[in-house]
């Protein structure tokens, strides 16, 4: 019984993993980068030093918006305390996407930082794939569900999960690849299961809309209002009004949060007499995401509503969501999320490679295609991500539409890597693309230092941990690229063990 279950599961694991492997690799790697989304954003806006208190930065942002954007329908401020920066988003009909962003710290009177999506690009790509809504989310959810199937079927078919727990034989054989696949998978298995499951949950409105439809019918607004009671709603009155001072509202909100800090501030129709301000608690001091909020009347500054989430189902959802996006995570936990995310990317990359190894020698079209797509994804995507960072440094800082250009460069580079991988023999493509990646990562700290004056020894001397850490990670990636290139070229004369029985298990 167990045998037949295992055998039939092998096919499920192999094919579910192959079909979505490339997409999952892209989601995993960008998601792993998004663990440091705040830090990437800060690196991509070197004009902001991130000095001073977050609350002062909020006040600076509101003061600037009040002067320059009084007619906007809303201002949405996100306070990022890890980088002591406030990112403001406001409506602007002249912008290609209908809105613009500006970033502030406590010393910013007029925002000067270059326009960029920053780490938010990796975060959005991770679950929306830059496809039109809702298709990106549907595809990402489907991929995550298949990944859960792949993980669980992988546990079932692993014959010796405990006996091989610590086993890694780094030979260039199929055995070595299988060991690596298993070690990456098994050692961080709790993380992989957690991150996959909690990744499916937040998109439930896309994947399981029927509960909402059955209870609320077409009235989506009611469903939203009950799901997020913390978000006050009020139509503009049409008569102009003056927004009260934001400072006292921030103080009162902090008092309501009982020591919790300010996370986000939404100000609706700020130039209208019916304006209102909603302040949400920072996600950094609790597992749950968005658990408390208070609302104030915009013109009087009086409290008009307060909400602490205590509905069990909603709290469960908030904690699952919070576990996935890891806004709570203190430094050590954050690095562990990053490392375990890389391990998951490693599981997928080694799994894709195993599919090939188990079928060698093979001259079929499927083998041809998979070998090239692997190279185009596993090395091509990191090159595109690094290219996004290069574009941030090389494009003129003053260009208003540079943010979109950075994203275009990401996609063009990825496409170019794919094309290159299609045209070259896979081993050469692997080696050459890995050299490109290693150079892109290894040279970026120097280029960045030349253009911004932040980074390298300067960062070490001044205790600029953000730039220092960024440079070190880039150097580590360069080393990894060099190792991959070396292995790809060294594997020229294949010394293979005789093939083991059947498919990987």
């Amino acid at each position: 019984m167990t045998r037949s279950l295992r055998q039939s599961t092998v096919g499920l694991h192999t094919w579910s993993g192959l079909v979505i492997g490339w997409l999952l690799f892209a989601m995993t790697l960008t998601g792993t980068a998004a663990v440091f989304s705040s830090e990437i954003s800060a690196w991509m806006q070197p004009e902001i030093a991130g000095r001073g208190e977050p609350r002062q930065a909020i006040e600076k942002a509101v003061a600037w918006l009040r002067q320059t954007q009084p007619q906007a329908r809303g201002w949405f401020l996100a306070s990022d305390e890890r980088t002591a920066t406030v990112h403001a988003l406001y409506e602007d009909r002249t912008a290609p996407r209908g809105y613009r962003t500006a970033s502030f710290d406590a010393t910013t009177d007029t925002p000067v930082a270059r326009a960029t999506m920053g780490g938010q690009f990796f975060y959005r790509f991770h679950f929306e794939l830059m496809l039109p809504n809702p298709w990106g989310r549907i595809l990402a959810s489907a991929a995550a569900m298949v990944m859960l199937i792949a993980i669980i079927s992988g546990i079932i078919i692993h014959k010796r999960i405990f006996a091989d727990f610590f086993t890694l034989r780094p030979a260039g054989s199929q055995r070595g690849w299988l060991d690596a696949h298993n070690v990456f998978g098994v050692l961080a298995l709790p993380f992989h299961l957690m991150i996959t499951f909690t990744g499916i949950v937040p998109l439930f409105k896309t994947t399981l809309p029927w509960g909402i439809v059955a209870n609320y019918g077409a009235n989506n607004a009611t469903a939203l209002a009950e799901f997020y009671p913390s978000l006050a709603r009020r139509a503009p009155t049409g008569t102009p009004g003056v927004l009260a001072d934001i400072g006292p509202m921030l103080v009162e909100a902090e008092r309501y949060f009982g020591g919790g800090r300010i996370g986000r501030v939404n100000i609706a129709h700020p130039g209208d007499a019916g304006s209102f301000v909603t302040i949400m608690r920072n996600d950094g001091d609790q597992l749950a995401y968005m658990a408390q909020a208070v609302s104030f009347d915009g013109t009087t500054g009086k409290l008009i509503g307060a909400h602490t989430e205590d509905r069990p189902a909603r709290k469960t959802f908030d904690v699952l969501y919070g576990l996935h996006i890891a806004r709570f995570a203190p430094e050590v936990s954050r690095w562990l999320y990053f490392v375990c995310g890389l391990a998951l990317a490693g599981v997928i990359a080694t799994g894709l490679n195993l599919w090939l190894k188990a079928r060698e020698p093979n001259k079929g079209f499927g083998h041809w295609l998979v070998a090239r797509t692997n190279a185009g994804t596993v090395v091509g995507l990191p090159i595109a991500m690094l290219g996004f960072l290069w574009a941030n440094r090389l494009l003129p800082a003053a260009d208003a539409e540079r943010s979109a250009a950075e994203i275009s460069i990401f996609f063009w580079l990825w496409a170019a890597c794919f094309l290159y991988a299609l045209l070259r023999a896979p081993r050469r493509a692997w080696g050459e693309l890995a050299i490109v990646a290693a150079l892109a990562a290894g040279l970026l700290p120097f280029v960045s230092f030349a253009l911004t004056g932040r980074g390298l020894w300067q960062a070490a001397m001044k205790g600029d941990w953000l730039f220092l850490g960024f440079d070190l990670v880039l150097f580590a990636l360069a080393a990894l690229g060099a190792v991959i290139a070396h292995k790809a070229f060294a594997a020229g004369g294949p010394v293979r063990l005789p093939r083991k029985q059947g498919a990987p298990a």
């Binding site: 006996a163 780094p170 203190p330 562990l336 490392v339």
Partner: protein, 105 residues
Amino acid sequence: MTALATLPLAFSGFALLSLSMDRHLRQAAVQRHQARRPGGWALLALSLAVALLSGNWRFGLVEWTGIIAAAAALVVLVLVYRPRALSGAAAAGAVLGLVGWAYVG
């Protein structure tokens, strides 16, 4: 920085567990010993306890699940590159973990 205690303790625990397995005994060139398996589990349990007892247990639990992955990966790396150093590293890890516990706890 609870990790200063939980990581070495978990490393030491996993190292002892691996040294209770025949294959890794041969790699590390050490004699079999009955106490390693319970000792390994005990050290893992101790690292969990330290993680839960230091401040916010919810954060501690999440961090610990990452810590054990990192600790086990370190054991795997030592077994690949310096297998004979593993038993010494296990002892050092236990001492370091206890010192770290005294320091952070």
